[in-house]
């Protein structure tokens, strides 16, 4: 199943890429409803379930929109346009593995397939020092974290004797079978995953990499890739966390990570001068919110995470698509955009409101789900309180962009904006509002 994806990735122009994505999307949706074309025996390495399929659809849909909106910019960002698309397809391939892995080795493979092309994409702007720095930083940090992950997997193997995600425990006498090795391994794994989703205190690479990489690729990294890491993480938490750490109060640790992530993401975002860097920190803050889903894995949380990834990805892709068109990435660069490009400003406002979680947008229901997932259990309400207070803080920096666009005078310089680009943005904004009014549209698939 997955193989068919790799075959297609030789598209050299964005149209072919978009077309390929469309076909994949259709194929994926068909498979969701049980019409598969050919069957591959995955030897229990991969397991395809509804959750994974739905996420794949979201990832594909988001990538499709991404390519349609910013395809031209991808071509412009360096000499090897075709290769960039190829790399994006490789990343997608990694994402599909992550959404379906059933074996820790596959998890490792998926993460690697996803990450390595990203290192290259980050450094694709060869003559830019910042881009190079970012790539190197990303690579070193990323390599280190994968090292930890591999170490963790090895330890877990040592503890349980299998790579499978779900362990059949045989109780031998008094000994129930959770060894010290296994716990340590799981902690290593957790750290590595926290690194990938840029949760504090493993977030330090994020601002530099997101800021240094060409904006088009930041957009991709900050949305679809991050969402995929979350999907992998939630699966790990779902199956393994309580099984292994049962007696240990890991939730407190997790809660601290969430608070820390929210704190750093939100507070630092407030002080940024560049919209791009602000978005990098805001993505950390958003990650803090998505972590709520992992905190307490239940149906609400899973659905919520899907909705959150969709809402967050769509909005962020839109914002970045506009950002790429801007000549100046600072807040001042947006001054007076409402006058020069009313459509851009209006759609950008919708995207920002969605990120801030204001009703009538998809972001509101996404946040709602996250909160509901934790509130449902009745414990750790204080964590939710902290969460919403930071959500109120986040309003400040999202609204700064809106203020710049609408209330300040200036001449926001943009590249030439085509009609189709505007239409794309309007459709994207419409989707976000539609999900904001009727979230069932997306979620009905889940129940189906």
């Amino acid at each position: 199943m997955i193989c068919s994806i790799i075959v297609r990735n030789k598209g050299s122009f964005r149209h072919i890429a978009a077309f390929g994505l469309l076909i994949l999307l259709i194929a994926n949706i068909l498979e969701t409803y049980g019409k598969d074309f050919f069957h591959v025996n995955t030897m229990q390495l991969l397991q395809f379930d509804r959750f994974g399929f739905l996420f794949n659809s979201i990832a594909l849909g988001a990538t499709l929109i991404y390519v349609l909106l910013t395809g031209k910019e991808i071509e412009k960002s360096g000499k090897y346009a075709a290769e960039y698309f190829t790399l994006i397809f490789f990343v997608l391939c990694g994402i599909f593995i992550l959404s379906a892995y059933d074996n820790l080795l596959m998890l490792f493979l998926g993460i690697e397939i996803m990450s390595i092309p990203l290192y290259i994409l980050t450094g694709s702007d060869k003559r830019n020092l910042k881009s190079n720095e970012a790539a190197l930083k990303y690579f070193l940090m990323g390599a280190f974290s994968t090292g930890l992950m591999l170490m963790g997997i090895a330890l877990m193997y040592g503890g349980t004797g299998t790579f499978q995600l779900e362990v059949q425990r045989i109780s031998v006498g008094m000994y129930k079978g959770v060894s010290f090795l296994e716990i340590t391994g799981l902690l290593f794994l957790m750290v590595a995953m926290a690194f990938k989703v840029s949760a504090a205190p493993f977030h330090f690479w994020t601002p530099d990499v997101y800021d240094g990489a060409p904006a088009v690729f930041t957009s991709f990294m900050a949305t679809i890739v991050k969402a995929a890491a979350f999907v992998a993480f939630i699966k790990l938490c779902d199956v393994r966390m309580t099984a292994t750490l049962g007696a240990i109060d890991w939730k407190l640790l997790f809660a601290l990570i969430i608070v820390f992530t929210l704190l750093i993401g939100n507070i630092t975002a407030v002080f940024q001068q560049s919209v791009k860097r602000m978005l990098a920190y805001s993505s950390i803050a958003q990650a803090g919110f998505m972590l709520f889903a992992l905190f307490n894995v239940n149906d609400v949380a899973k659905e919520g995470l899907l909705l959150y990834t969709a809402a967050y990805s769509l909005a962020t892709i839109g914002i970045f698509a506009i950002l790429v068109k801007m000549k100046d990435y600072t807040f001042e660069g947006y001054n007076g955009l409402a006058k020069t490009q009313p459509v851009l400003a209006a759609t950008n406002t919708v995207f920002l409101l969605s990120l801030a979680g204001i009703p009538l947008t998809a972001g509101f229901f996404a946040k709602y789900y996250m909160l509901a997932a934790v509130v449902k259990t009745g414990s750790y309400i204080w964590l939710v309180v902290v969460g919403v207070l930071f959500a109120a803080v986040s309003v400040y920096y999202y609204f700064r962009v809106i203020q710049a666009m609408y209330f300040r005078n200036g001449n926001a310089a943009t590249e030439t904006i085509t009609f189709s680009f505007k239409t794309g943005l309007i459709i994207l904004a419409a989707i976000i509002i539609l999900i904001g009014i009727l979230p069932q549209v997306l979620l009905n698939w889940f129940y189906f």
Partner: protein, 490 residues
């Protein structure tokens, strides 16, 4: 269904304004005015139709409309109206019409977008006053926020961005805390009965543990007391009120503050009777502090609009005091206070706006002797400052008197202190009057008195405040059933 119509008329009216704003600015104003007039007629019709029903006291709800919205979570579009809602709706559309009239000439830029925001804020407020699904309630609570933010941030005064931010973040933080409480209540209800529902009537039967109930109630309370505002959370109010355009101040003071009081009456008391009885003493204490503190700060202001804003803090202290007395009389007074404060403070803000249009300042120090050139305005201003200090025969007197009477049975010291607040209010009101309208004129410049449009606005407001002062019975009859129901429960 008529309630749904009211909201959708406002929403479509807003969109029409936005569209029409590209071509014709005159048309926009008429569309906005017409929209609100239609709604006002609808609510008036509602009032007369159901007056008999309300006074007979069979059921307090006379309109109830419910359709599913997101059935899988038990979220429904449930709107209903009882006497209290009807009074608040009437006030909403009444002040809405005036807010359109008073921004007739003030707003010259982006007129279409302005009226769009105005109407959408009003739609949100309308929704808040009729929503009976807690999720829907939260939804409208937020919907009224964003357009208001734009109103302040685009058409406000010099410091508008700061004020708009502050307003938004304060209310948003409160709103989100309320959301947590709503969610908690929702899940507790689900664990007790097995069905997921946000419906008001379902949640009324939920009995959380007393200790939990207290915390859940605090979440609701914090959202409402920020809106009301009660003293430690009043910080956003002076900035927002003074920087907003005239219509914005009118809506803020006249309607948005009332949503806080409405929320307490509608949700906090019925949902958590026991927990609210427990905090009653504290709430009344904060009410009293608000009365005195607001009055003192009002006295110290040099900016007309800030002064009026602080009087709101003081007057809303009475509301809090009255609600937590749990007496029929006090509760009647609270509803009266909500209506009359909306009218009187709204009128003062409109006057301040008119003065600013003429003098281009809000500084009291630069005014003085305005009576000579504008006798009509002076006279009207006199009426409303008197109303605000609680002169008999004007609406506010009735309200404050009822509240004080009601609380006297409950807590004598608090009532005494609150009555002292009335003395303070005389101080700041008279100071306002004296500095602005009396004394020797500062400038020899000739200032125009009321235009016809302004005269209509002020005449309507004056008539209504006098009417409510002399014959408050219609309002009291309307809310009687609700009030009795409430005080009997607790």
């Amino acid at each position: 269904m008529i309630l749904v119509w009211m909201i959708s008329i406002l929403l479509t009216g807003g969109l029409l304004c936005w569209l029409a704003g590209r071509r014709n600015n005159e048309l926009v104003k008429w569309i906005a005015l017409l929209t609100l007039l239609v709604d006002f007629v609808l609510v008036g019709n509602l009032w007369f139709q159901h007056q008999g029903v309300v006074t007979s006291g069979a059921s307090t709800w006379f309109i109830d409309y419910k359709i599913n919205w997101i059935p899988s979570f038990g979220i429904s579009f449930h709107v209903a109206a009882d006497g209290l809602s009807a009074v608040m709706l009437a006030l909403t559309f009444f002040l809405g019409i005036l807010s359109v009239l008073c921004s007739w000439n003030e707003i010259t830029q982006r007129t279409g977008f302005y009226y769009f925001n105005l109407l959408w804020t009003l739609a949100g407020i309308t929704g808040v006053f009729v929503a009976l699904d807690l999720f829907l309630f939260y939804f409208f609570w937020e919907v009224m926020l964003v357009p208001m933010y734009f109103l302040i941030a685009i058409w406000g005064d010099k410091n508008r961005r700061y004020a708009a931010y502050k307003f938004f973040i304060f209310t948003q933080a409160g709103g989100l805390l309320m959301l947590i409480s709503i969610l908690t209540l929702y899940f507790i209800h689900a664990s007790q009965t097995g069905t997921y529902s946000y419906d008001y009537f379902d949640l009324l039967n939920t009995k959380p543990e007393p200790s939990t109930a207290k915390w859940i109630m605090m979440g609701f309370m914090i959202a409402f007391v920020i809106k009301l505002p009660v003293v430690p959370f009043h910080n956003w109010l002076p900035d927002a009120h003074s920087e907003a355009p005239t219509a914005g101040s009118l809506i803020l003071a006249g309607l948005l503050l009332k949503t806080g009081a409405y929320g307490i009456i509608r949700f906090v008391l019925p949902l958590f009777p026991q927990a609210s009885a427990e905090i009653a003493w504290w709430a009344m204490l904060f009410g009293v502090i608000g009365i005195i503190y607001g009055a003192m700060l009002a006295f110290a202001q040099t900016d007309v609009k800030r002064l009026i804003a602080y009087t709101s803090v003081s007057h809303m202290g009475f509301v809090l005091l009255g609600i937590f007395a749990f007496r029929e009389m006090a509760m009647q007074g609270v509803v009266m206070q909500m209506v009359t404060h909306g009218i009187s403070t709204g009128a003062l803000f409109v006057l301040a706006g008119m003065i600013k249009e003429r003098l281009h300042t809000r500084d009291i120090g630069q005014m003085g002797g305005l009576w000579t050139s504008m006798p009509a305005m002076g006279g009207v201003a006199m009426v409303f400052t008197m109303a605000s200090l609680g002169l008999p025969a004007l609406g506010n007197f009735v309200a404050e008197f009822l509240i004080l009477m009601g609380t006297f049975f409950v807590n004598v010291p608090f009532t005494v202190i609150a009555t002292l607040g009335l003395v303070f209010s005389a101080l700041y009101s008279l100071r306002l009057m004296q500095k602005v309208f009396m004394g020797p004129p500062k400038e020899e410049k000739h200032l125009k008195d009321f235009s016809t449009r302004e005269l209509i606005i002020m005449a309507v407001l004056s008539i209504s405040i006098v009417f409510l002062g002399l014959y408050p019975q219609p309002v009291m009859d309307m809310v009687k059933g609700v009030v009795l129901h409430l005080t009997m429960r607790s």
